[in-house]
């Protein structure tokens, strides 16, 4: 591992993020953030605090209004359209999945692989099948997304992002709307990905997978090895490890941990 250059996976210098939907108003300003390879970040914040916008910007899907954002050491402006290979190094799991509604689950998962490597459906099939089995999606391979339960849709979206074996995986509120059992599966699986064990064969070059997760509830994400940050009032506040979360006096952190606030009337 030591011979891998430690170029930050994500690096932001004074970045301002615009809302993707709606007025285009700035949702987060002056973000300074560096994510090293192999780290597991949880970006927490209340609803509409700009978590999704920040994640999409980090993945290079939108451009900053101000400041500079880099992905794998390269400016995002260099990635715009010109270099889809670099884009494929970052996987993104949207909240709700955003699956292609006219394609079956297997076709959804196969499409990025086929497009990226110019494979026919038959050539892509073994790899797709292996991943579907790993995520327990094999029985649903031929089902259209509209007929899937929401948690399976979310899992199919995870499979679609993982088929390209990305070095960075960004997940927008992956636990939203999941039952306790499903949430446990996700937490375990993401941990295994972070440990480099989730995918058979791992990543090319033995690189660790870097994970960034947006969450509006911090409780399930308690884990000593994760890094935490908070989005509130248009600011990005790094909190450090779990001890930093617990010692934070911020009332929003307490809300996200579901600790009752002392009410002063």
């Amino acid at each position: 591992m030591s011979d891998i250059p430690r170029i930050p996976v994500i690096e932001m210098f004074g970045v301002s993020v615009a809302a993707l939907r709606g007025s285009g108003a700035v949702t987060v300003t002056d973000v300074h953030w560096s994510v090293a390879p192999g780290e597991f970040w949880v970006v927490a914040g209340p609803e509409h605090s700009g978590k999704s916008d920040l994640l999409m910007l980090a993945a290079g899907l939108t451009s900053p209004v101000a400041g500079r954002s880099q992905l794998f050491g390269r400016d995002l402006s260099d990635l715009g359209g010109g270099d889809p290979a670099a884009r494929r190094r970052a996987g993104f799991v949207f909240q709700g999945g955003h699956l292609f509604n006219r394609l079956t689950v297997a076709e959804n998962v196969a499409l990025p692989l086929q497009y990226g490597r110019n494979l026919s459906p038959a050539e892509a099939a073994p790899e797709v099948q292996e991943l579907l089995e790993l995520l327990e999606l094999a029985p649903l391979a031929e089902v259209l997304p509209a007929r899937l339960a929401p948690h399976w849709r979310q899992r199919a979206a995870l499979a679609r992002a993982l088929i390209l074996r990305p070095e960075l995986l960004l997940l927008d509120n992956p636990l939203s709307g999941l039952g306790a059992r499903q949430a446990q599966w996700w937490l375990r699986f993401l941990d295994r990905l972070a440990d480099g064990e989730g995918l058979p064969g791992g990543l090319p070059g033995g690189r660790p997978m870097t994970l960034v997760v947006a969450a509006d509830d911090l409780r399930p994400w308690r884990h000593s090895r994760r890094q935490y940050s908070l989005l509130r009032d248009r600011r990005f506040i790094p909190l450090g490890g779990w001890s930093g979360v617990e010692s934070a006096a911020d009332p929003v952190v307490k809300e996200l941990l579901a600790i009752p606030l002392e009410t002063t009337l």
Binding site: F92, H98, L99, F100, R160, L164
Partner: protein, 246 residues
């Protein structure tokens, strides 16, 4: 309008630049779109060709025969059916049947975040979603126009024959072929390809170019169809200028 022009140029650029990118994915997409904008419309076009032949061609032949002007038949048919009515009618039918579906499909895909998902997976949405539609529609309008013209001319003669117009099939088709020039073939091909290209551009632009909410999709579809009709009539007017200049 500026946005539309830019979108047309971007699409053309992607079409030419990425002609060899992921052919294994794009080739089936092209087949799908040619089937959707062409083959699937053949029964409807057969019906319309019959109607056009009976109503327009047959009546014109009968009227010309009545006033003793049957020697103008070829010129009249070429101007009415081959140059104007055939291409424009084919374009309008494709706009109505496939163009509206384009706006709704793409608008819904955009509103549900599928376009962002394509980008996140390193797939160029213009290459995957738009280019096949543009090519499919250009080929579709061209071939359907050819079938429509042939069908209308054939069924038109049938109608005239039933009305006892003294005209042999040999004379009828000879007159028409004599009135056709090489320019008609070249401009017919150019015009129908332009119709298909711009119908696809207008409908895809409205479906895709702006972030939409689901409730906006139907309103945008209406606007796209109106604009599609206007664009086709403009292209038609431009081609009349070409005919006059030639």
């Amino acid at each position: 309008m500026q946005g539309l022009g830019a979108f047309a140029l971007i699409t053309l650029g992607v079409l030419l630049q990425k002609i060899n990118v992921a052919p294994n994915v794009l080739r089936p997409r092209f087949r799908q779109e040619v089937a959707r904008s062409g083959v699937a419309l053949l029964p409807m076009f057969g019906f319309v060709a019959l109607g056009l032949g009976f109503l327009v061609v047959g009546q014109t032949v009968a009227a010309l025969a009545k006033v003793g002007a049957i020697r103008y038949l070829g010129t009249t048919m070429v101007i009415v059916v081959v140059r104007e009515l055939g291409p424009l009618l084919a374009a309008m039918l494709v706009l109505a049947r496939v163009g509206t579906a384009n706006v709704i499909e793409l608008g819904t895909a955009r509103a549900l975040g599928e376009v962002e998902a394509l980008e996140a997976l390193g797939i160029d949405p213009v290459h995957y979603l738009i280019v096949p539609r543009v090519v499919g529609m250009a080929l579709g309008v061209f071939s359907l126009t050819v079938y429509l013209i042939l069908g209308a001319l054939g069924s038109g003669y049938l109608f005239a024959f039933l009305q006892d117009v003294p005209l042999t099939p040999g004379d009828y088709f000879r007159q028409i072929t004599e009135a056709l020039s090489w320019l008609d073939f070249a401009l017919l091909a150019l015009k129908t390809v332009a119709f298909g290209f711009f119908i696809a551009i207008v409908t895809c632009y409205h479906g895709l170019a702006q972030p939409l909410r689901l409730e906006e999709v139907s309103r945008v579809a209406v606007r796209a169809v109106t604009q599609g009709v206007v664009v086709c009539v403009f292209i038609d007017a431009l081609f009349i200028l070409l005919y006059l200049l030639a």
